[in-house]
């Protein structure tokens, strides 16, 4: 079977890819996708430790993370649509004033 450290390494790499996505991309939708990638990296670690220690709580927590991520995406994309209506762009460099 696979050592736990391999999963730790994979999760770290995926998380850093998500961080780079948030920092490098200017398309707000891609930034959201990178956020989902970071959620997934942490979820993978939860499940790996759940299997490592044979405790079910990690998987329950992943379930809750998924539900909250779904809610977050729904509200976030609604915000994107609302911003696009006033700014006509989803470029985060353009969104630098709060006034609509």
């Amino acid at each position: 079977m696979v050592p736990i450290s391999y999963y730790l390494g994979l999760s770290a790499i995926l998380f850093v890819t998500g961080i780079l996505g948030v920092l490098l991309r200017r398309n707000a939708l891609v930034i959201f996708m990178a956020l989902e990638l970071m959620f997934n990296a942490s979820n993978l670690l939860f499940v790996a430790f759940s299997a490592y220690y044979k405790i079910l709580t990690g998987q329950i927590f992943v379930f809750f993370v998924m539900a909250v991520a779904a809610a977050e995406v729904a509200v976030g994309l609604a915000l994107m649509v609302a911003i696009f209506r006033t700014k006509h762009s989803v470029d985060v460099d353009q969104v630098n004033v709060l006034k609509g």
């Binding site: 850093v16 990638l37 299997a51």
Partner: protein, 185 residues
């Protein structure tokens, strides 16, 4: 090298490659499709770790619902490609530097310094069946479960309110349909 490590290596390679593809591709529709690949590979990793419920929830919630929502919004707004404009000076360099530093730190403290050198053994057959997870959700974790349903309800209401047109229909407009102003949407 055991077969489990080889399978993990291939899956990890696909996961990292699809994540990098999501990061690099300029068209955000392709980014969403790379994300589907990444989520599917991670679902397979969940299956290997003995978490079938989480694996299938991953497929339905992430690959099924969230990415479809992304694609829907991308296509509705028509913003698959952004016009190219220069990033803030030095931002890319600093971002990559920060990423490398974080990765090094994570590798040092998670992989080498944590002392976690154990091997994940195959869990028992009845360890994380959907029945066991449902049992835990509805007994030990009933309150968080109900709180989740409230969060989802709030998200639905919030999404509807945020995308609602500014001019709401008043009762007068409903009573006199002939005088309704055409300023919605």
């Amino acid at each position: 090298m055991s077969s489990g490590v080889i399978i993990f290596g291939v899956l990890a390679l696909v996961a990292v490659a699809s994540a990098a593809g999501m990061l690099i591709s300029q068209n955000s529709v392709y980014s969403a499709l790379f994300l589907v690949v990444n989520f599917s590979v991670i679902a397979v990793l969940y299956l290997i770790l003995g978490a079938p419920f989480i694996a299938l929830a991953q497929i339905t919630v992430y690959a099924g619902a969230i990415v479809v929502l992304f694609l829907f919004v991308i296509m509705m707004l028509g913003t698959a490609r952004l016009p190219r404009s220069g990033p803030i000076r030095g931002q890319r360099l600093v971002a990559i530097l920060v990423g490398v530093v974080f990765l090094t730190e994570a590798a040092v403290f998670l992989v080498w310094r944590s002392g976690l050198t154990g091997v994940i053994s195959q869990p028992a057959v009845d360890f994380s069946t959907p029945a066991a997870i449902g049992n835990a959700l509805f007994t030990t974790y009933t309150l968080p479960f109900e709180a989740t349903s409230l969060i989802l309800l709030a998200a639905v209401v919030g999404a509807i309110i945020l995308t609602h047109p500014d001019q709401s229909v008043s009762r007068k407009d409903i009573l006199k349909p002939g005088q309704k102003k055409e300023n919605r949407g």
